[in-house]
């Protein structure tokens, strides 16, 4: 495989930039897919709330990111602030003006980065929505998204995609090519996933989810058709995201988009099939929700390395993701009492971490040795910095603006309580009669 050049200041021909723009314009399909999945895996009495929340998250993320987020994130080769340690310069935060002042929004790489990131940060914001389903207030969702889009996401994204210290691990320490993540397994998925874990910890489980003895009750999603349709939308969006990300952040040539699309599809396919087989073996029948989660986990795991995997390796990455998502979802619910209705932690956090690790284990980045250590440093940063930061910010938010809805809201459903109307007014909505008392 052709080695990539981690760009310090990327240049794209006009045709390549147009092609990249077209890819970026397909990325919102990934958000639409996640919104449908979140809604389908939640309860019918919160379906409209979940979809409106998805729209609000996308809107807040775009506004806040353009306002302040890009000023912290920047792009490779553009101004940033550095720390000098042991004679080496380490970029830690960008030094761009707020509200994109001075940036020409044309086909330049920096403008394309802004557009892609407006969509990507919304995608990251949609991930915690599924973990807080049926109990997370709309106002709190918007405030939490503003924290994610304005601070947590841009800071980590600068380190990886903006020429920051993780990207510099190769040049400064000889660790392979530095931390590599073309499509956002870490920057989008794990950042969203650890935020989802923070939200489940802060909100606590849904009423009736766990018995007094700690045994979880099954609260099935209300519409698995929406979930499976969401998987198809996500597939389109993810292929575009992985391709555009690899072009902009890793400098791969447009011709490699075919390989990226093949690998993304194979990864999702292997993961979805593996999850179906694992649930068939464990429960006697394939589980549609967990198989869909397997499909998404495959997409998540593909993002980091899709540009550098051989197709057979992509299937291995997907197969492992499929096993992980089912095992971790069970472990979180039965052993750790984490109520995560959409499986965001297992799909996005664990799937993303596996994707980052897969770069070191299976990808051919054609760089010097030490890539595995660069990827481990990235993982350590996600666990040791992003998770405490995300939990701390959301904990502080909860102190000043309670994030969990009142008891009445949970009993009536988020649609009626917060919006005044349900998603399905012509149908009976199930209450809590099947829950453990």
């Amino acid at each position: 495989m052709t080695p990539f050049v981690a760009p310090s200041l990327l240049t794209l021909s006009e045709v390549s930039a147009l092609f990249c723009l077209l890819l970026i314009l397909l990325v919102p399909f990934a958000g639409a897919g996640l919104a449908l999945i979140n809604s389908g895996l939640g309860r019918s009495r919160s379906a409209a709330h979940t979809m409106l929340a998805a729209l609000c998250v996308t809107a807040v993320a775009a506004v806040v990111y353009v306002g302040v987020g890009f000023a912290w994130q920047g792009a490779a080769g553009r101004p940033d602030r550095v720390l000098l340690v042991a004679g080496k310069a380490w970029g830690w935060i960008a030094a761009e003006p707020f509200f994109l002042r001075g940036l020409r929004l044309d086909l330049s790489p920096a403008a394309l980065v802004v557009l892609l990131q407006m969509f990507s940060v919304g995608l990251a914001g949609l991930i915690p929505l599924s973990s807080g389903a049926d109990r997370w207030r709309l106002g709190a969702i918007c405030a939490s998204t503003a924290l994610l889009a304005g601070w947590t996401y841009p800071l980590f994204a600068h380190w990886v995609w903006g020429g920051g210290w993780l990207a510099q691990l190769g040049a400064n320490c000889g660790l392979g090519r530095g931390f590599v993540d073309g499509g956002g397994s870490s920057t989008i998925q794990v950042v969203g996933g650890v935020t989802a874990l923070s939200i489940t910890w802060i909100l606590g489980p849904r009423r009736g989810k766990f018995s007094a003895e700690g045994m979880p009750a099954a609260l099935p999603g209300h519409n698995v058709v929406l979930v499976l349709l969401g998987c198809v939308f996500a597939w389109i969006g993810w292929t575009a995201l992985n391709s555009a990300g690899a072009m902009l952040f890793l400098g791969v040539e447009p011709g490699r988009v075919v390989l990226i699309a093949v690998n993304t599809t194979l990864c999702a396919a292997a993961s979805g099939l593996t999850a179906a087989v694992v649930t068939r073996v464990r429960f006697g029948r394939p589980d549609a929700s967990l198989s869909a989660n397997g499909w998404i986990a495959g997409l998540v795991a593909s993002s980091a390395a899709a540009a550098f995997l051989k197709p057979a390796a992509a299937m291995i990455v997907g197969g492992v993701a499929g096993i992980l998502v089912v095992s971790v979802a069970d472990f979180l619910e039965f052993r750790l009492a984490v109520d995560d209705p959409g499986g965001a932690v297992s799909v996005h956090a664990v799937g993303g971490l596996w994707g980052v690790l897969a770069v070191a284990l299976l990808a051919d980045t054609a760089g010097p040795g030490g890539q595995w250590l660069a990827q481990l440093v990235g993982i350590a940063t996600l666990l040791g910095f992003v998770l405490p930061l995300s939990y701390g910010l959301n904990w502080l938010l909860d102190r000043v603006y309670r994030q969990r809805v009142e008891r009445e809201g949970e009993l009536r459903g988020m649609d009626l309580f917060e919006l005044g109307a349900g998603a399905y007014p012509e149908f009976d909505i199930h209450g809590d009669e099947f829950l453990q008392r």
Partner: protein, 59 residues
């Protein structure tokens, strides 16, 4: 206890960052990065355990 777990997560990360920035030898750097990650995993386990205890008390 949850705060202690979160602080251990940050402490583990600080070990990793210090190892990368300050240690010149590849072997020592790798050893300290792995040690930092081990501290992080311990912190994560502590935070999870604290969450379980708090949740049980709440119920």
């Amino acid at each position: 206890m949850k705060l202690a777990g979160l602080l251990l997560l940050v402490a583990g990360w600080a070990i990793v960052v210090a190892a990368v920035a300050l240690l010149p030898s590849a072997g020592a750097r790798a050893a300290f990065v792995l040690a930092g990650i081990a501290v992080e995993l311990f912190g994560l386990a502590l935070a999870v355990r604290a969450h379980l205890v708090l949740q049980a008390e709440g119920e």
